[in-house]
């Protein structure tokens, strides 16, 4: 992969105006797939399954199989459209997008093309400084996901250089809503931040609607970021690139920043931008050229003859509208008051992208202050070190369990951090890690006293000093005891006991 020349971000912004656009794919968490009654691997609480065990005939394109629309997917799509401020089409229809690819069983994707279910909306996005921005939505349409390819034989697991590939159709037919924005102007130097905030807002909306698991790291929510630059003062839009495979909020921000810098360097050097798909590489923090747009993109769309138009009853639309949860902005203000956080405390939570996690942790029984401490502290630290989203590391349920263990004295802070590491490593729940690794605080005084007596016996000079009133000398004994207990003791209690034994 050739190394791209980048222009400094500030200089790029001085010379060019960035125009953004996003296509966000949301996997709906219905029980079954978009067009088949096979179980949906993106369903709420779905466990990972063996390959090709969640497949109905139509998902793998068997001859004679027919698609039938999932009513719940339609309801979810309408709710999402309404939450995006869109109009809901009284009649929309599916089309076939024809192209050959081995992850696509029928070799066409059923999608909505000229008649999407939802169109013309907008989303209020809150930025880090608390200011608001309106992102215009062009459309939200229903479609189906493709299967999954595993590339074998290449060095990197990437498609290039692979010797062969394996195909699993479990994901084929998972219901998707694709949300397409209109061009976003005026983003300026905040473009990367806006990108991240927009995707976070979409994530918050689908979570509040309860229509998607919305885990970016699992591909429940996927963002394609379109970026183009135009020289200051120019009216016409520049050529855009579409960056795919951006699987975390952090990456969205970085990818947009990277594309602005890369395109600016090319334009400044007198070059031109190729209209192409680019792939984001999490490991290197760069994008690489994919397929240029060409006449191979002749998808030969035509109305899907196997499906009837979708005509939701007006009563259904009104029912779903009435059931919409409050908007994320309103909801946040209410949460902030409920939790008793200051403006800046709350903004830190939102900016770290852990509001939903925090909320769930509190819902599981943790105190707001404790939940905030963990999510913005140790968990965020690990996430930043690894370059992933905090929410992908550990579940809110496990965090609340961890907090409960520290609250009732089973774990010290230090032990709790250790337990967290193991939970993040996938060793199970905190309770399980504590039991399996024996990390519990030793609260049995008998064991502590035995260790203290042994330490005191080994350091008669220290014992004497303590008895002489030099209490600070106790530190050496406490250290020895803690070491003997492999850290699994409450240091304050050890200190109390040391003084008690020394004066006995």
């Amino acid at each position: 992969m050739a190394t791209d020349v980048l222009m400094g971000f500030d200089e790029a912004l001085e010379r060019y105006e960035p125009v953004l656009g996003f296509e966000v794919h949301v996997e709906l968490s219905t029980a079954t797939k978009m067009f088949s009654s096979a179980p949906n691997p993106a369903a709420a609480g779905a466990e990972s399954a063996q390959p090709n065990t969640m497949v109905a005939p139509v998902d793998m394109g068997l001859p004679g199989a027919l698609p039938v629309v999932n009513a719940q997917a339609v309801r979810y799509s309408i709710s999402l459209g309404l939450a995006l401020g869109c109009s809901i089409a009284p009649s929309s229809r599916f089309a076939r997008k024809n192209y050959f690819y081995p992850d696509l069983g029928k070799n066409y994707q059923i999608s909505q093309f000229d008649e999407p279910i939802a169109f013309e909306g907008s989303v209020e996005v809150e930025l880090e400084d608390g200011s608001q921005l309106t992102v215009p939505i062009e459309r939200a349409h229903m479609e189906e996901d493709a299967g999954k390819l595993t590339h074998v034989g290449g060095a990197t697991g990437r498609i290039q250089g692979a010797d062969h590939s394996l195909v699993d159709y479990n994901r084929a037919g998972v219901p998707l809503v694709e949300i397409v924005t209109k061009p976003i102007y005026g983003a300026e130097h905040r473009a990367p931040e806006i990108a991240k905030a927009y995707v976070a807002t979409i994530r918050d909306i689908v979570r509040s609607l309860g229509i998607s698991e919305a885990r970016m790291e699992r591909g429940n929510l996927r963002c394609d970021a379109n970026v183009s630059l135009r020289p200051r003062g120019q009216q016409a839009l520049g050529t855009r690139t579409e960056t795919k495979n951006v699987n975390s909020l952090r990456s969205v921000e970085r990818a947009v920043r990277y594309e602005i810098q890369r395109q600016a360097a090319i334009l400044a050097a007198g070059g031109s931008i190729t209209q192409e798909t680019r792939h984001w590489h999490e490991d290197t923090g760069t994008t690489s050229a994919g397929r240029p747009k060409s006449d191979a993109d002749d998808y030969r769309y035509f109305p899907e003859p196997d499906l009837l138009p979708v005509r939701p009853a007006p009563e259904l639309i009104e029912e779903l509208r009435a059931a919409l949860p409050e908007s994320p902005a309103v909801f946040r203000r209410r949460l902030q008051a409920d939790y008793g956080f200051s403006d800046s405390e709350f903004r830190d939570i939102v900016n770290a992208g852990v509001l939903a996690e925090l909320q769930e942790t509190i819902a599981e029984g943790a105190a707001p202050a404790q939940a905030r401490k963990w999510w913005l502290g140790e968990i965020l630290r690990i996430a930043n070190a690894r370059g992933v989203d905090a929410g992908s590391l550990v579940s809110p349920l496990h965090v609340s369990e961890l907090i409960a263990l520290t609250e009732n004295g089973d774990l010290t802070d230090r032990l709790a951090r250790q337990v967290l590491e193991h939970v993040v490593a996938g060793e199970g729940s905190p309770e399980h890690v504590v039991a399996a690794r024996g990390l519990k605080v030793v609260s049995d005084d008998t064991a502590l006293i035995a260790a203290i007596d042994a330490a005191l016996a080994g350091q008669p000079d220290v014992l004497q000093k303590i008895r002489d009133g030099k209490v600070q000398a106790a530190g050496a004994v406490i250290g020895a005891v803690m070491k003997a207990m492999r850290g699994q003791a409450d240091a304050a209690r050890v200190r109390e006991l040391v003084l008690e034994r020394a004066s006995a």
Binding site: N52, V55, V74, P303, P305
Partner: protein, 103 residues
């Protein structure tokens, strides 16, 4: 385009064969170019008989159907899924190297 005679060239057929993933022989391409020109010349008169005010019909009947309830039903076993597979391994289908990229 509508009034010019429809001619399907050899290059057109090659392009269409690529889009439809059929490795036609040179002879087939040649032959099809002639045949398709003849067929298209005949069927293209549909353009002359319609006016813009005529709506397009994609379903023969204006049907109303209820969508499917979201309940798990027909699902194949892995064995059934792979029963016709030309090549399979570890519960998955095997294909040779892929040149193109995901859409």
């Amino acid at each position: 385009m509508p009034d010019a005679p429809a001619v399907i060239t050899v290059a057109d057929v090659q392009h269409l064969a690529g889009l439809s993933r059929i490795a036609l022989s040179a002879e087939e391409v040649e032959h099809l170019a002639g045949e398709l020109t003849q067929i298209v010349e005949s069927v293209r008169r549909v353009q002359q008989v319609v006016t813009p005010d005529v709506p397009a019909t994609s379903h023969p009947l204006p049907l109303e159907g209820a969508p499917r309830p979201d309940v798990v039903g027909l699902v194949l076993t892995q064995e059934q899924v792979l029963s016709g597979a030309p090549a399979a391994r570890d519960g998955r289908f095997v294909v040779p190297a892929i040149l193109g990229e995901e859409q």
